[in-house]
Amino acid sequence: MRQTKGEKIFEVFNVIIMCLLALVTLYPMINVLAVSLSRNDYVVRGEVTFYPIGFTLKAYNYLFKFSTILDGYRNTLFLVIVGTALNLFFTAMTAYALSKRDLIGRNLFLFLIVFTMMFGGGMIPNYLLVKDLHLINSLWSLILPGTISAYNLIIMKNFFQAIPRELIESSRIDGLSEMGILFRMVIPLSLPALTTIGLFYAVGHWNSFFDAIIYINNKKKWPLQLILRDILFFADTQQALTDDISTNIPLEPLKMATVIGTTLPVLVFYPFIQKYFVKGVMIGSVKG
């Protein structure tokens, strides 16, 4: 194809802009990784940029001696595994019942569910409910209030509706119960959608921190993100103001090692699961 000069210049600029975007996106992560592996004196002097200087694993040694960090991993893993399993189980059940188009009362139920996407009681009433249920300081307070996401529920319901009715009818004739149909027919047929939604739930559990701030006072039950916040930010603004880092623990590398320790699982899995997320956005934008 014939190209004008202007088009060629644009193409070069476009590639440069895209490379700059990639740099701006990746540099913080690269820098954080480099700092976490560098000797503190180089870090403090601001010499570490793309690669570690004075390579050391000291920060990671300190990090994994903190029992709070290990507690954090345990708590977060519990939330991700148990939480996501319950999320999927109850979302799938509810979605299956609501995917039956001629169910009497279906529109009322759907309205009540969609309404919760637009209106809620707010922070304090939620807190009072969790308190009345005696869930304060329990990891269940971080799982149960978010068992079903209305948004994911609607996506899954639409997906179930797209399954050919003949398949479901034939297994009904074969004598399967509705739960049997759900688990032996509908779910196996919807695995891509379930994977996507499960990953959304899992990342949500991995990243959430605010509910733990209000529901969990006991540090031993803190999820990883909250411990990271504590290490990163406590007295941090003062630190920025006085710029005085003079403790024996290599503070900066330690902070950055915590960031890496908190983010690494997401980063490692990300390239493989990325396509599922994108698919998820597409499913979500299809109306049903």
Partner: protein
Amino acid sequence: MGNVLIDKNSGKELHKGKYNLKRKMAKIWKDKSFYLILLPGIIYFVLFHYVPMYGATIAFKDFKVMQGILGSKWVGFKNFIELFNHPSFWPVVRNSLIISLYKVFWGFPAPIILALLLNELRKESFKRTIQTISYLPHFLSWVVIGGLAVKMLSPSTGVVNLIIKALGFKPIYFMVNPKYFRSVLVLTDIWHGIGWGSIIYLAALSGVDPQLYEAATVDGASRWRQIWSITIPSISSTIAIMLILRMGGIMNAGFEQIFVMYSPNVYDVADIIDTFNYRLGFENAQYSLATAIGLFKSVIGFTLILITNKLSKLIDEGNGIW
């Protein structure tokens, strides 16, 4: 009940789709296993969504922990009057709207521009690599992003200030300076969302008929002309709908982000409705007042969503590209 099952087909023929009560009950009984499957979900939504909505009535009460939600005295709009007269109330409403509007103004076009630029890339593998990288920040928590921001903007070791110093200027304390803090919020928000936000536009772009471009090329239209006359018009309804929906969430200025990144130094410019709500409730234990401001925000937010959903449906029917 169990043996009044009625043949569905003949029933429909007789009554032309109109169920009488008996038929309705029979149908419900026939579908009982579906209602059983639905039950946990309904219990969940009632307990964790509708009970707190009832709990929000303490906005109209003088809530005492010992007396509970039911036992506390009704006080009408007293909490709201107190709220509207609170010295922090109008400033936090203003901050919420200003930060939100800044984010729309700078942040809304960003993914559109990215999508347009990505769409012009020739090499598919390069395009896909850039896409994969640009989605990444969406999966980081605000705690991590806050940590990255502090590191990048650090006056002593952050790359931004290293550049500023190399150019011969004094380092800037971005995270604690009210002059710069809102810009930090807007820029980190764009960093977080630009790639992910572009997906929807890329999808719209991939739906454009390639024949349009071919025809335009035959007619001698330049690449610019094609972008202006084919590409942009073909995603304009998506843009309009996304903008309208975005305006529906204008009361949300980005609670988790600000909660992680702000500090008393920047309360004047960054304290929003939700952060104020949090401090009223959990630091001052003023439950009724905090619930009142939460309800204030929810009601306005709900109204905005209703309006914007109506508007987006109008556009949707008008163009039908969505």
